[in-house]
Point group: C2
Chain length 356, copies 2
């Protein structure tokens, strides 16, 4: 009955707090989770307040047009409502695009967001990866010319590595790609990149002129709503109209809709979180320099260190209730650490200094 | 780029409260929405309390194993955790199944839940419908023998009509179908049916013996969490393992997970809501009898009346701030009314008596 799935594996997410609690008997409130690039400061108090007030209405389906959210997003990004589609996380927008096109070949960076590959394999696509781990647009172009993939993914900045293409280089690249190839610019961490360096900022309204470019954004990172599953796609109306054909009704929850709308009303909170993120990131950079550890310059809310025995170190930390991401499954020894709150970073760095 | 979607239409959900507010300038608190089979009593106060307490953690992804929820569901239904998959509404379980099998032909009742057709068309399937609007298993079997569909949908009880097959007849039917055809028993309204008549109750653990049967349940109706998008599938491990291959990580929200777990801890609240539902439904039956209107005997939380000029009546009601479902798009004059709270039903019945 399921022959068509026989080469598909099941995706396993990072270790949840609850699992560590069960395994090592550590109290939930003592666990430090710096593994999933969640915003450690949580959502704005105004968001929390609004969601609380709406908990009596959990039996009501959301306004499936997502009118209010699209209104706010369209103002923020200077596009029309009809240029926007809402998803259960930006993941779901990627899923719509891949399931809509059913590509034979998909091109991504050597190491990038895992879901590109997972969704692509669901439709039987072959995954082409650049030889470089980080995004290298020359390599992208070379493979594009030879292999003509139907979808190209650019993760700007890139998860799980942290590096970020210049916006100018991205737009130069778009010019060179034929209009039958969809280019998806995943901007999940764009708020962080744009804050650190304006040269990295992808302005979504600028991609509308292209017949074949889809930008995706999320409320999961800078807006601190990872658990609420809200993201969006921005593109020309033709692309959006087609993605809509695959959208199930009520694809975000009633409370998620309220949370996202309210989050857009407190940009000050978001900005403060991003500022703190880069202040705290400096502590990790200092640690790396002290110890001659190579790290990847990051435009996100996480940082990757190359470090020997990364699996061993990650396991040591896990036993102490600190969850980070070991990169060894990608074929190299490194750790990806989400930048936490000051006290969390201090505790982690103290232990790392002891181990090292 | 999107040639594969060219015959697909975009699904449009029922009129949301917000739309009526915008169109007729009626205050949101004055609107009565009896169109989407939402549980009018809302979730248990214990559910509301737990969700409120967890609003500060909206930045955290849920435990993607959904361990606690599966534990509770497995106890309730007397199955193993490995027999369960969680979805963003039971809709998403249907989506997994259809996308996994990619059927050429799908068989459903003449009039039934719209998503069967929508998801099936996404994978290019032909939709076969029985001549009868309501479920008629003889017709199902006849078409099955001639056409060999890869998926058969039984909606027990049936939305949007309300009728319900006897469990015995369903199990007799399962015996006659070859093991390569997946039969999906959609139990979205099973809690209502089982309360009204034990002969209608499908016990999910009994379907595990079949290699080709998937049961789906939801928290959207009796459990009053429609807006939170939580449903589940129950089947043998082989089916569940395969559906898991199409499940995106974090497919329900952090707050939805908590709401569903807590809802299972207050079955008393659920039972009270169902009792009230059938008490209130009697008022609609009385109205129908008074007026010699034909109605469909219902095992759900809604009732369908055959009534002339149903579109006109629905529009009249809409202008007065009452939203119900006009069935004329299905090709016959009828109204589907969700059973509301006493005061809502009274107001609606008063207006219907005036119109009639």
């Amino acid at each position: 009955m399921f022959e068509k799935l026989k080469n598909l594996k099941t995706y396993e997410a990072g270790k949840p707090v609850e699992l560590v609690v069960r395994k090592y008997g550590i109290k939930p409130e003592e666990i430090i989770k710096l593994a999933s690039n969640e915003n450690p400061y949580g959502p704005s108090p105004k968001v929390i307040q609004a969601v609380k007030q709406n908990t009596p209405f959990m039996h009501r389906y959301p306004d499936d047009s997502y009118y209010e959210l699209k209104e706010k997003l369209s103002k923020k990004h200077n596009v029309k409502n009809s240029n926007i589609i809402i998803g259960a996380g930006s993941d779901q927008i990627l899923e719509f695009a891949i399931h809509a096109i059913k590509p034979k070949k998909v091109l991504t960076a050597g190491i990038t967001f895992a879901m590109y590959e997972i969704y692509s394999k669901q439709v039987g696509a072959e995954i082409l990866k650049t030889p470089s781990k980080e995004h290298n647009l020359n390599e992208f172009y070379e493979i594009y010319q030879k292999q003509k993939p139907e979808i190209i993914f650019l993760c700007v900045p890139n998860n799980p590595l942290g590096e970020c293409l210049d916006a100018k280089d991205v737009f130069d690249f778009l010019e060179k790609i034929d209009s039958e190839t969809l280019i998806i610019i995943d901007g999940a961490y764009q708020e962080f990149a744009a804050f650190k360096d304006k040269n990295k900022e992808i302005i979504p309204s600028k991609i509308l002129d292209y017949p074949n470019v889809l930008y995706t954004g999320t409320f999961s990172k800078a807006y601190a709503l990872g658990g609420m599953r809200v993201g969006y796609g921005i593109a020309n109306e033709y692309i959006i109209k087609n993605l809509y054909k695959l959208r199930p009704p009520f694809n975000i929850t009633t409370l998620s809709l309220i949370a996202a709308v309210k989050a857009l009303e407190d940009e000050e909170w978001v900005k403060k979180g991003i500022e703190n993120n880069f202040k705290q990131m400096q502590k990790y950079i200092d640690f790396a320099n002290e110890n001659n550890l190579k790290y990847i310059n990051s435009w996100t809310n996480f940082i990757v260190f190359y470090i020997k025995n990364s699996t061993k170190i990650a396991n040591e930390l896990l036993k102490k209730g600190i969850i980070i991401r070991d990169m060894s499954s990608y074929g190299f020894d490194a750790l990806r650490i989400t930048i936490g709150k000051p006290e969390e970073n201090e505790k982690l760095l103290k232990i790392l200094r002891e181990i090292n």
